[in-house]
Point group: C2
DNA sequence: ATAATTGCAAATGCTTTGCTTGTGA
DNA sequence: TCACAAGCAAAGCATTTGCAATTAT
């Protein structure tokens, strides 16, 4: 269980404080997509003095440094995850909120083509699928 | 320039007041994707007594009735447009905020397949492309 | 008549910020 | 050392809501 976010912060020259190290660690060890409140709870289990303002400032800092990714899924507050090199999109279970990550190169390619056809260079995109589990 | 939203409200049994009729009219005549503030400004040019609370309540009501669509594009407040039968997605110009609508059946189809492969029935999705204009 | 809607202002929920004290490089 | 970060509480912003007055059917 390595602290990838901390390593990436060092690479990017982000100054590391105890609070930031801890937030980085907790995020690196999270396999879900916690929101700021949830992150605050998790870090507070280890250091109860970290304020929510610091968590907000830190996730923003990390996001700007490109070491974490922020997501605004429908009807929810912002959620965060460790940034990965391989881009991926998300499928959200409409009943449970559970998130599944996926990659589909064909869709990626088509998006680029659509943008170009409309006279644009694609610089970013957002693709979220909302689904309900098929019981079998 | 017909008031499609008002017509659809009648079909759906949504009670119509003067304020709602005016908001419906302004939205029907808008070809862009205004936010609540902008809508409030537009209706206030005609009836300056309509409060922003009423605009908020009305767009929510219209959305729940399925006669308008709400969009939360990245980094912006919610924007609204008349609901259309034909589904479409959006390309947002990252420099100007200008919005272009598009439809791509191949992407739609692939989304459904991706969801199914993951064991989900696709019930909704969000696809937004962010691009910058190619100068030629 | 009367249940629903409006306008206003106050409340909300998430997020940011000013300020003073504390601290990493 | 000293520019930057943390903690706290207050402010900000978009949106919602309680309530008394008004209105549609």
């Amino acid at each position: 269980m390595n602290n990838v976010i901390e390593d990436n912060c060092i690479k990017k020259g982000v100054r590391l404080t105890d609070q930031r190290k801890l937030i980085a660690k907790v995020m690196s060890e999270s396999n879900d997509h916690p929101d700021v409140d949830e992150l605050h709870k998790r870090v507070n289990k280890i250091d109860s003095k970290i304020s929510i303002a610091t968590v907000y400032r830190t996730v923003k800092l990390f996001e700007e440094a490109g070491v974490v990714a922020k997501h605004d899924f429908k009807g929810n507050k912002a959620r965060y995850e460790e940034a990965t090199q391989e881009h991926h999109d998300h499928l959200i279970d409409v009943n449970t909120g559970e998130i599944t990550e996926f990659v589909n190169e064909d869709i990626e390619e088509l998006q680029k083509k659509v943008a170009e056809k409309l006279g644009y260079k694609l610089v970013d995109h957002r693709l979220e699928l909302y689904g309900s589990k098929i019981k079998k």
